[in-house]
């Protein structure tokens, strides 16, 4: 067992769609809703833009967790991007779990532009779950 690093903070990459979830994150800010500072947001036009590779790359490059959030079904600014994305995400998540990666490391959710509170809640939940899991070791690139 390695020693526990008490200063360790989880590092989480979040992919947010521009129209709903990014706006929801902004709204959480407007409402001054406090949440942990562990998430680094990458803004994308639509959850449909998010390739499973983005998620795998995040884990490979050292993220302890990944969050993906888009518009609720039916709300997509591009009509159906989130529906198409949902199928891809379902498979990716299942595959990661299959190979034995902790399933809580990669999370998917829908947050609308008016759900600032939900966004804060999601970040709380994701951060705490990933914190409980400890640093990601399984897919991260190691020094040779």
């Amino acid at each position: 067992m390695g020693k526990i690093d008490t200063n360790w903070e989880p590092r989480i990459i979040a992919f947010l769609c521009n129209w709903c979830s990014y706006a929801g994150a902004d709204l959480a800010g407007v409402g001054r809703m406090q949440y942990p500072a562990n998430v680094r947001v990458i803004r994308v036009p639509c959850s449909g833009r998010i390739s499973p590779f983005f998620i795998l790359s995040s884990l490979q490059n050292g993220a302890d967790g990944v969050l993906v959030s888009g518009c609720h079904p039916g709300d997509c600014h591009y009509l159906t991007g989130n529906y198409s994305a949902r199928r891809k995400f379902a498979l990716l998540k299942s595959q990661l779990e299959h190979i034995g990666i902790e399933k809580e490391r990669v999370q998917f959710t829908w947050v609308s532009a008016s759900e600032g509170g939900k966004f804060a809640e999601v970040i709380n939940r994701v951060t705490e779950t990933v914190r409980a899991l400890g640093p990601a070791k399984k897919l991260v690139k190691k020094c040779l």
């Binding site: 709204l27 001054r32 680094r40 947001v41 036009p45 639509c46 995040s58 991007g81 891809k88 509170g117």
Partner: protein, 1015 residues
């Protein structure tokens, strides 16, 4: 400008969704728009709604892009806190007097940071939240408001000067004075909205006294995530989650006893269903929801199946009964007394929602009077059946609830229709008052090493008080390719913009990163600054260190500082890879193709031609007029045949309109601005190719031919439309009949066709009244499920009842039985029905049986859908791009829909939609070139294997496979840049400009590596 010249500007009164839509349509088609809004922000009622029916879309989500688009439009001038005081002149040349109240906050200085409101000591009820929460004297109407600047409620303000001291932007000015100005416009569109009915007027419901009796709009605020209870479903008395909620319908509507409102508010049934469904979804416990109603009027597109789902999937209970009175118990619970099955019953609820109707506000009525606009008996703006957006004053048009109760898509359609009318008048003055911004030529930076400037904003104290800016600044300077870093109090202020420009020149910056607030509101501003210095606007990145950092990590300044560094590092990494992007310009063919020669097609063609564009109308039959050829009058009594004849004359004589009868489409190629369509004409099948920029699909609908109720078997059984023909033919059978039975919902609202055909209830009432007029002794029985005489049609329903027409409700599982018998030597039709109200069965010996047969999709629809690559819904009608806000558009640009092809509707409604389609079409036709979005998809042909995955996935049909080399090609004119293609391309051949794989990967890499923090 000489007085005979037309003024190419339009005044739009009211900044709700209607006003916004009119403004955008007009500004986009070359007219200057003044949008006058009485409150401090545009948006109207929509921002107050939580979800929208029947898709449960988030109201704010779908509205906010429109707010920004409207707010930032170069040719829309928004006048907030403003009122129209008077109009003089004539169509084409009006002078309007506008009075604008002071905001006390300088709009050019206020950055919207919110420090002032945070510290303002004055609290007062927040009317946006219907008083369920409080706001400050200095306030913003709602968080996403446009303009985003604050305003001061001078009446409440104590002038303590706290805000003046706090405001680092020095935006507050108590010395501001009201301002009156006169503007020249060519036309006016009134869409000032409505007022919800004051539920306090109905004493026996206890509104205003019982805390847990609330109105539907209050309930919307409660449901809203940004509402007074942050989206938690709680009741006001004890802030506990209710377990039982009742909705009472028709509060202030269809009520001639308690209030004199004999119209139906048209929206309440569906919104109550929505609220019940959403409440159930919100509630953590199993929630009881009951809706007390008279008739459920879910007549709109998709509403009936929404109603069905509410009942069957969500378990919403529907009780057909009026509530007599509400009592309150000691726990603030409410006892509802009502009659059910002819017995008085009582039920207890935790919360009661009054489905309040819509009414005309006093202010609107005064405005109408001031402008000399006639109102109808209900106080709404008077319009005519065949000119539904025209007011009694020429050149002044009405849209939205100002002219009668209606929902969002109908308002949007009217707004577009009004825009079409206005641009019809002003066509010759198009582009005379609009302006385009001039920019210096762009520097070519391709091949240059990235030289990045980072500008960090303190946002007053919003960022600076949490994030250690000097630390962040030092850090940013160490990043690769960063050659300049600077911080400022407000990066968005005028002088900061100027400084950015100077720094770009001084340091030869070729990329700019601004670390400040959110790109959603501020990116366009900074991009503009870049353009002004000759830098391509896509060489810009924003790091959101306020909304998503300092504001949400106020108690963790160190972590917030680290995060800010990370976010800047990520933005710098992306900026490094940014490349200049360019919009492609496509030439536009200025003519339109209208498919279908019914009323919709002809109205649409005429409206397009009035805007000055050439139109081809194709009709598959040999005769124009479509279904309207069989309709003789409207319920209001207007003569349809006269109107139709005039319309055909106008269309035939218009030199810009080319009519093609007996014509069908063979094939279609091309896209928005550049369609090529091959027509097959006449029996000889002559083939002709036409080119056009847009298409309006007005292919109409059809009437269902039932195989029940002895239809087509017994000569005395007709469809309603056939009966109307028989009346017009003065068939003797009619004048001699003693009993006439009408059966509603034949082929509608059943398993095969779950939708409501919308027009049949009004049609039946219309015919009943006509039959009564012909022979007041005739007995008319209307067997119905719900009578759906929505809006002002309600008064005819009342009239029919007064005249003795018998309305008998039946249950769909127990349909009336029909039998042809011979009684006393006379052939009659015996109709047996179980009356739901009386719960007893009886028979009528009918001389005539008329069936309200469904309106069904035209058999042409499927073919057209394939040709134009547009979707049909499950009922077989065309499916618009968005049921609320894009009711005549398709995802495929340049293709529009109107009339029965879209869904069943009345003539008046078809006219509105057809004009709306013309307005939307006019936007494209008015442009010489259309510019594509620059952040579009791009294909690397060397990598593409032509598998077609992207083609299948693209929601906008913007990709096709090039048959020659089997690779995908992007139509940049159609691509919206969503990126679903890029994320699904296995070959890595597709990328999204501005969001390339490489750019995103660079952010992933710089964002994920933990050690960067220590570097």
């Amino acid at each position: 400008m000489s007085s005979t010249q037309i003024t190419g500007a339009v005044l739009v009164v009211g900044g709700g969704i209607g006003g916004i839509q009119s403004s955008l349509d007009l500004a986009e088609s070359g007219f200057k728009v003044y949008l006058v809004e009485k409150s401090p922000a545009i948006g109207g009622t929509m921002p107050q709604l939580d979800k929208t029916f029947p898709t449960n879309d988030c109201s704010m989500c779908i509205l906010s892009p429109k707010l920004v688009e409207c707010g930032r439009h170069l040719n829309i001038e928004i006048l907030t806190n403003a009122e129209l005081k008077g109009i003089s002149g004539k169509p084409g040349n009006f002078k309007a007097v506008i009075e604008q109240k002071p905001r006390y906050v300088a709009m050019d200085k206020c950055t919207g940071c919110g420090d002032c409101a945070e510290k303002c000591p004055v609290k007062l009820p927040d009317l946006f939240n219907k008083g369920l929460s409080q706001r400050k004297a200095i306030f913003r109407l709602f968080e996403q408001a446009y303009p985003p600047t604050f305003a001061i409620d001078k009446e409440a303000c104590k002038e303590c000067n706290v805000c003046v001291k706090l405001c680092k932007a020095e935006a507050i000015d108590f010395e501001m004075e009201p301002k009156t100005q006169e503007i020249n416009v060519g036309s006016v569109i009134l869409s000032p909205g409505f007022e919800e009915f004051d539920a306090g007027l109905i004493a026996n419901y206890g509104y205003g006294i019982f805390k847990n009796v609330i109105t539907s709009i209050e309930f919307e605020r409660i449901l809203s995530a940004s509402g007074p209870y942050q989206g938690q479903l709680l009741r006001p008395s004890d802030m506990k989650p209710p377990k039982r909620i009742a909705w009472i319908q028709c509060v202030g509507s269809r009520d001639i006893h308690r209030v004199n409102n004999n119209y139906c508010s048209a929206v309440c049934c569906t919104y109550a269903i929505k609220e019940a469904i959403v409440a159930k979804e919100h509630s953590s416990i199993d929630l009881d929801t009951t809706i007390f109603y008279i008739d459920i009027r879910t007549y709109g597109k998709g509403f009936e199946s929404y109603y069905k789902r509410a009942k069957e999937e969500h378990g919403v209970r529907f009780v057909k009964s009026e509530i007599h009175r509400i009592y309150r118990d000691d726990n603030e619970n409410l006892i509802l007394r009502f009659s059910d099955d002819n017995r008085i019953r009582e039920e207890e609820y935790d919360l009661v929602v009054l489905s309040v109707g819509v009414t005309q506000s006093e202010a609107n009525q005064k405005l109408a009077i001031k402008l000399g606009i006639q109102l109808n008996q209900h106080g709404f703006c008077l319009t005519e059946d065949f000119s539904p957006v025209k007011t009694s004053q020429a050149g002044i048009f009405a849209a939205g609830v100002f002219s009668g109760p209606k929902d969002i898509p109908e308002t949007v359609m009217e707004a577009s229709a009004a825009a079409s009318e206005a641009s019809g008048i002003l066509a010759t003055a198009r582009h005379s008052l609009t302006r385009d911004k001039e920019y210096p030529p762009e520097n070519n930076i391709i091949g240059e090493k990235p030289r990045i400037g980072v500008f960090i904003c303190h946002c007053g104290i919003n960022i600076g008080s949490v994030v250690d800016i000097s630390d962040v600044k030092d850090y940013a300077a160490t990043l690769e390719n960063v050659v300049f870093v600077e911080d400022s109090l407000f990066t968005c202020s005028q002088d900061s913009q100027q400084r950015i420009k100077e720094r770009i020149e001084e340091y030869s910056l070729n990329r700019v990163v601004v670390a400040a607030c959110t790109p959603r509101t501020h990116e366009p501003l900074f991009q503009e600054t870049l353009r002004e210095t000759g830098l391509n606007k896509y060489l810009f990145e924003m790091a959101n260190i306020r909304d998503q950092c300092s504001w949400v990590h106020q108690r963790q300044p160190e972590k917030a500082t680290e995060k800010a560094k990370d976010l800047i590092r990520m933005s710098v990494a992306k900026a490094k890879l940014n490349e200049p992007l360019f919009q492609t310009k496509l030439e536009v063919n200025h003519s339109a193709l209208v498919v279908g020669g019914g009323i919709s097609g002809m109205v649409s063609a005429l409206a397009i031609a009035r805007q000055g564009f050439e139109v081809h109308v194709i009709e598959k039959s040999s005769r124009f007029g479509g279904i309207a050829n069989n309709i003789h009058s409207t319920i209001e009594g207007s003569d349809v045949q006269v109107y139709l004849k005039e319309l055909i004359d106008k269309v035939s004589s218009n030199p810009l309109i080319h009519l093609h009868t007996e014509t069908e489409i063979q094939d279609v190629s091309g896209y928005v601005g550049n369609f090529k369509t091959r027509l097959v004409i006449g029996e000889v099948e002559e083939v002709k190719e036409i080119t056009h920029g847009v298409v309006v699909i007005a292919s109409g609908g059809d009437i269902y031919k039932p195989n029940e109720y002895l239809y087509a078997i017994n000569p005395n059984v007709f469809s309603l439309i056939e009966l109307e023909g028989e009346i017009a033919k003065k068939n003797k059978l009619i004048s001699t009949s003693r009993n006439i039975v009408l059966i509603q919902c034949v082929g509608s609202r059943d398993d095969e066709r779950p939708y409501c055909s919308r027009a049949c209830c009004s049609e039946a009432v219309k015919l009943a009244l006509e039959l009564k007029k012909l022979n007041s002794d005739v007995n008319i029985y209307i067997l119905y499920r719900d009578i759906r005489t929505y809006g002002f049609k309600e008064q005819y329903y009342l009239e029919a009842r007064e005249k003795g027409v018998l309305f008998i409700p039946y249950d769909v599982s127990d349909k009336p039985a029909v039998e042809a018998i011979n009684k006393e030597g006379k052939d009659i039709i015996k109709v047996t029905v179980n009356d739901l109200l009386l719960n007893e069965s009886f028979s009528i010996d009918a001389d005539i049986l008329a069936l309200a047969t469904a309106i069904i999709p035209s058999p042409e629809s499927a073919k057209l859908a394939g040709l134009f690559k547009v979707p049909l819904n499950e009922d077989g009608f065309f499916m618009e791009a968005h049921i609320k806000l894009r009711p005549v558009d398709f995802p495929t640009e340049g293709v529009f829909v109107c009339g029965l092809a879209h869904s069943p509707k009345l003539i008046e409604e078809s006219i509105i939609q057809s004009k709306a389609a013309a307005s939307r079409a006019g936007i494209i036709l008015s442009k010489d070139r259309i510019e594509s979005n620059a952040m579009v998809s791009t294909i690397d042909k060397d990598k593409c294997s032509g598998c077609g995955m992207c083609v299948e996935l693209c929601p906008f049909i913007a990709i096709e496979i090039d048959v020659i080399d089997n690779t995908a090609i992007i139509n940049e004119a159609l691509c919206k840049g969503c990126g679903v293609c890029a994320s699904s391309c296995r070959c890595g051949a597709v990328d999204i400009m501005g969001f390339t794989d490489n750019e995103i990967y660079s952010m992933i890499k710089t964002g994920a590596l933990e050690c960067w923090g220590n570097v």
